[in-house]
Amino acid sequence: MPEVNAYKPKIVAFCCNWCSYAGADLAGTNRLNYPADVKIIRVPCSCRVNPMFILRAFQRGADGVILCGCHPGDCHYTTGNYYARRRMTLLFSMLDYLGIEKERTRVEWVSAAEGAKFAATMNDFVSTVAALGENKRLEDLRCKE
């Protein structure tokens, strides 16, 4: 595939330290490819992710933001991902309500053993976001060159 001038989406992935970040490491250990567009930010728990961080990422030009955490019921801190789940559900619904493409946001539960799921999720998310094209609806024009 010719890569010249191909559109490269910017993807921010928030991963909880205990499950999903370890899952991402496992994807690496198993050499499972996913696009380099995905950049991971390590957080202690999915419940640490403030909706403001997600908006901030979009403001700064991210085209997609994905949050990964332990499966519900498996949270290292027992309940963190339950709160994250409610917060993100409502935030995504609100973004959709404002007419922002809902496919640009996603939550996925990835355990430390699911390296393959992590890679597959990222592949799928990147292609979904790439199909949408650049994020124009939630971008701070000042941050553009």
């Binding site: 409610r86 559900t89 959709d96």
Partner: protein, 323 residues
């Protein structure tokens, strides 16, 4: 009603039950109502008003007023009592320092609403059953209540007082309002239409902060928008994103805590239907996590600080009805 309220307020001031009275007074124009604190019978006689213009929700002012010495009397319309309870749930004021009197409300209008009917030189307003009569320097004009009520009052959720020490007048019932109809209508649009709708609305925002300042849920000691360390502080929106962001974050901050009193839309000088953002959260919460009315009872656990193991996944957003 105004007379009864003044009389009772005087009584309570005189017998020492309360030291101050939180109510309403007119500003520069009769429709220009402002919350006010009265300390004497004379002040009450002179300035206290209660009429169809008195839409202001007084609950929020208790946060500051109860920090002062003595006890304060507050008059609460049914919808204000929800904010009152929500603030109590959040420990924002000391219940012991408040004497709350529930007063009936048949819906409120506004100077703007009246003016939109072609009236000017407004000098007063009277209510009589389903009629509201507006006095101007030119004429007296009587309207059917429904014609000139504010939108939030036409979709009133409750005439029932959920908190009070005493009631003046009859208590009402929780109503089956159609307050989510407009939200549902927006949900049924395409994302492009929704985006266009909200851009057309939010681009009007002049960041006067009136919505935040009047909101009974926005009582933070320091607002994140005023805090340089928060990373989202801003005084004015620099572009369309910042316009959006202010309102998304504000709505999210009060999600699960907003009682849907509608003060944000009432005070917006640009007439942005801000309540439609809050109502979206309320509608989502009701649909996804079960009916929840913030402020219906003191001490209830707000939906965003609660969970069940069986909660829906965020992916429900992709699969829901609408486009």
């Amino acid at each position: 009603m105004q007379g009864m309220m003044i009389a009772r307020a005087k009584e309570l001031l005189q017998n020492g039950t309360v030291n101050r009275v939180l109510g309403w007074q007119t500003g520069e124009f009769v429709y220009d109502i402002t919350p006010a604190v009265f300390e004497t019978a004379e002040e009450l006689d002179e300035k206290f008003v209660y009429n169809a213009f008195c839409g202001n929700n007084l609950s929020k002012y208790l946060v500051k007023e109860t920090k002062k010495d003595g006890k304060i009397l507050v008059f609460l319309k049914p919808c204000d009592t929800y904010s009152f309870n929500q603030l109590l749930t959040e420990h924002r004021f000391d219940r012991e320092k408040v004497y709350a009197i529930g007063i009936p409300c048949d819906g409120k209008t506004s100077g703007e609403m009246v003016k939109s009917k072609g009236l000017s030189g407004i000098t007063g307003i009277d209510e009589d059953g389903d009629n509201i009569t507006v006095h101007t320097i030119y004429e007296d004009k009587t309207f059917n209540r429904d014609e000139i009520l504010e939108e939030r009052c036409r979709t009133c959720k409750s005439k029932k007082h959920v908190a009070y020490d005493e009631l003046i007048g009859e208590d009402g019932e929780v109503l089956d309002s159609h307050r989510f109809d407009m939200v549902a209508k927006l949900e049924a649009m395409t994302p492009d239409e929704r985006f266009a709708f909200w851009r057309s609305q939010l681009s009007k925002c002049i960041r006067c902060n009136a919505c935040r300042n009047v909101c009974p849920a926005c009582t933070c000691e320091k607002c994140v928008f005023d805090n340089p360390a928060s990373g989202i502080a801003q005084k004015a929106a620099a572009d369309s994103f910042e316009e959006n962001m202010f309102h998304i974050i504000r709505a999210f901050h009060v999600a699960g805590r907003c009682t849907d009193c509608g003060e944000c839309s009432r005070v917006c000088p640009q007439n942005i239907p801000l309540h439609l953002l809050n109502r979206k959260f309320i509608k989502d919460i009701d649909e996804l996590y079960g009916d929840y009315q913030a402020g219906a009872e003191v001490g209830s656990r707000a939906p965003l600080v609660n969970y069940t193991a069986e909660d829906v996944e965020p992916s429900i957003v992709y699969h829901r009805e609408g486009k």
